[in-house]
Amino acid sequence: MSVIKVENLHKKFGRLEVLKGVNLEVQQREVIVLLGSSGSGKTTLLRCLNRLEEPNAGRIEVLGKVVTHEKTNLNQIRQKMTMVFQLFHLFPHLTALQNLTLGPLVVQRKSREEAERIGMELLTKVGLADKRDAFPPKLSGGQQQRVGIARALAMQPEIMLFDEPTSALDPEFTREVLDVMKKLAREGMTMLVATHEMGFAREVASRVLFLADGVIMEEGTPEEIFKNAQTERCRTFLSKIL
């Protein structure tokens, strides 16, 4: 079953056209890895999906709802398709647990008991149950990003978007974050991940997309892309990062 459908998506920043007609269909339980040099539009594509960025043209459908319609209730879709940010963007005035419970309490109107039960379950899942009362600035980068993932999970989404989740981390913390993401992938979460982590792509990606010149230039299984890329651009890119 397809959960995301993107047709002819265009996005311009001023006169710079970052996306020039992207077409994409994502099936349930797929783990999509977006590759491409910086400025290739990976982040922009993800941010257009939940309309943190306003597309200039094209049609986006998520879980049967047309995101690009004016009348669509975006807040409903965003609960079901949450996002993990490169710079975490945790709420610094709230504890780790409160970061997780805010959405369920305020947006989904869950009871405090239930929100905290879900919150603690997720903190345990990302290995941070003992940090429930810690404020984000007191946590390491890796811990902050794991809270970020747990916060996105707390809405009990069907799809998760990861915008370069390990790019801002010291290398020593990358693994703990990737491990959590791999666990999610294996549990069947539908994920779209912009990343440069090839190991992650090899291990869990169902499909790898290579973005260049504002379009998806090449796509395939990790095997196909890493061993047998068809375009020169993709081969050059891979040779630089592998």
Binding site: N50, L52, L74, N75, Q76, I77, R78, Q79, T82, M83, F85, L87, H89, L90, F91, P92, H93, L102, G103, V106, V107, F135, P137, K138, R151, A152, A154, M155
Partner: protein, 218 residues
């Protein structure tokens, strides 16, 4: 120097009354000014012209005219268009109206100082703009807003003496009245100054404390 201690003791109850009036005007004025400032500050940051244009106009008009003139207009000119205010409400209204504009700038700057990613993180889990403002942005901005807000309270406390022009017997007016009736200039004015300092010095110290407390860590 003709400070007369006996006179000072004698006029203490009168000065106290004036002081209470000053405090009443400033506390109420500040309360309403903060509410006005919060909403105007948020409105000026919106993208809707029918919110930004009138609020910007309001702020520019208030900042471009003297408070004393605003007080005169509110008490003497508004009745001619059918709005009659008693002295105290008129005084409170004038102070709130004027300081609301200044305080809106404090709120605006405080809100703008919160990084964009906070809004995006809140919106990305489905929060509305109002929920984002209430649960994510304002609680963080308030740390940066509180010190300048407290400074404005001190400023308003002093500016409240301008309502003397509509014959409200606050602290300064009371002192002036006593000095005329007693023939002693020095004692009532120094007495009034002491009463102002009784509030302004502790509050100013509080600002310093707040800046230290809220500036670092969580």
């Amino acid at each position: 120097m003709d400070f007369n201690f006996d006179l000072f003791v004698k006029i203490l109850p009168q000065l106290w009354q004036g002081f209470l009036m000053t405090l009443l005007l400033s506390v109420l004025g500040m309360f309403f000014a903060t509410i006005i400032g919060m909403f105007v500050g948020i409105a000026r940051l919106s993208k809707t012209p029918w919110l930004t244009i009138p609020t910007t106009l309001y702020v520019e008009i208030v900042r471009g005219t003297p408070l004393m003139l605003q007080i005169l207009i509110i008490y003497y000119a508004l009745p001619s268009i059918g709005i009659n205010l008693e002295k105290i409400p008129a005084g409170v209204f004038a102070l709130a109206f004027c300081y609301g504009a200044y305080i809106s700038e404090i709120f605006r700057a405080g809100i703008q100082s919160i990084e964009r990613g906070q809004v995006e993180a809140a919106r990305s889990i489905g929060m509305t703009t109002t929920q984002t403002m209430r649960y994510v942005i304002l609680p963080q901005a308030i740390r940066r807003i509180l010190p300048p807000l407290t400074n404005d309270f001190v400023a308003m406390l002093k500016d409240s003496s301008l309502v003397a022009i509509i014959a409200l017997f606050e602290l300064t007016t009371t002192a002036r009245y006593i000095s005329t009736s007693s023939g002693n200039v020095f004692t009532p004015y120094i007495g009034a100054a002491l009463f102002y300092l009784l509030i302004t010095i502790p509050v100013s110290r509080l600002v310093v404390l707040l800046e230290k407390r809220l500036g670092v860590g969580q």
